[in-house]
C-alpha cells in the first residue's frame, strides 16, 4: 500500500537560512510525487511535482526537490528562506490514472524567525 511519511512535524528556521523538508514514500511502482504548500486559512498550492526524467525538479517560489529512488525520498529544499515561506508543507504520492488519488503526508509546519 502507498504511504507518505514526513518525519518533521514542525521546523523553525531563521530568515535567509537554508531549508530542507523530508519526505519518504512507500509505493510499489514509479511514483508521482508532489509537494504542496498551505498558508493559514488557504487551500493547497502545488509547489512542484516529479514523475519521470531529471531527479532534481524546480518549482515555484524558489523551491526544488530531489527524487532519490534508492532512499524512497523526495526532500524539498530552498537555499534561502523568506518570512513569507512560513506555512504548512505537504508531500504527496499520486496513484492511479493521472495520479488522481493523492495520498498526503501529515505535513510539516514551517516557522520563519527574523
Amino acid at each position: 500500500a502507498q504511504s507518505v511519511t514526513q518525519p518533521d512535524i514542525h521546523i523553525t528556521v531563521s530568515e535567509g537560512a537554508s531549508l530542507e523538508l523530508r519526505c519518504n514514500y512507500s509505493y510499489g511502482a514509479t511514483p508521482y510525487l508532489f509537494w504542496y504548500v498551505q498558508s493559514p486559512g488557504q487551500g493547497l498550492q502545488l509547489l512542484l511535482k516529479y514523475f519521470s526524467g531529471d531527479t532534481l525538479v524546480q518549482g515555484i517560489k524558489g523551491f526544488e526537490a530531489e527524487f532519490k529512488r534508492s532512499q524512497s525520498s523526495f526532500n524539498l529544499r530552498k537555499p534561502s528562506v523568506h518570512w513569507s515561506d512560513a506555512a504548512e508543507y505537504f508531500c504527496a504520492v499520486g496513484v492511479g490514472t493521472g495520479a488522481n488519488n493523492l495520498f498526503f503526508g501529515t505535513g510539516t509546519r514551517l516557522t520563519v524567525i527574523p
Partner: protein, 116 residues
C-alpha cells in the same frame, strides 16, 4: 480567472443536523475532488468525479455522506446526520487531464465545519 469556489467558508451546526457543502470547480475542468482534513487523519480523499460521474468514493463513509455533481459547474457534499467527529476542513479541488500525464489539482479555500 476565479479559482475553485467553496461555500460556506465556515459552518457550525449541531449533531444530527444535515450539512451541505458546495463547490464550483474551475471552468473547463472535468475532474472534481472532495478531501477532508483533520488533525488526527490529515488530508484524506473522500470522493472524486470525472465528467460528473463518480470514479472513486472508497474513502467516503457511505452511511451518512453523499456527494453529487448535477452539472459540470457544481458539486455538493452532504452529511446527514452530522456527528461531532465530522468536524474538519473540507476541501474541494478540480483539474483536467486531457492527454496530460497527470492531473494537477487546484484546491479551493476549504469549508471549516464544526459539529457541536
Amino acid at each position: 480567472d476565479a479559482g475553485v469556489i467553496q461555500s460556506p467558508r465556515h459552518e457550525v451546526t449541531e449533531m444530527g443536523q444535515e450539512v451541505t457543502l458546495r463547490c464550483k470547480p474551475i471552468s473547463g475542468h472535468d475532474y472534481l475532488f472532495w478531501y477532508r482534513q483533520t488533525m488526527m487523519q490529515g488530508l484524506e480523499l473522500l470522493v472524486y468525479f470525472n465528467n460528473k460521474a463518480v470514479m472513486d468514493d472508497s474513502g467516503m463513509p457511505k452511511d451518512r455522506f453523499s456527494a453529487k455533481m448535477p452539472n459540470a459547474s457544481f458539486s455538493t457534499l452532504k452529511i446527514q446526520p452530522s456527528e461531532p467527529r465530522d468536524s474538519a476542513v473540507y476541501f474541494c479541488a478540480s483539474s483536467f487531464l486531457r492527454g496530460r500525464t497527470y492531473n494537477e489539482q487546484f484546491f479551493g479555500p476549504g469549508t471549516r465545519l464544526t459539529v457541536l
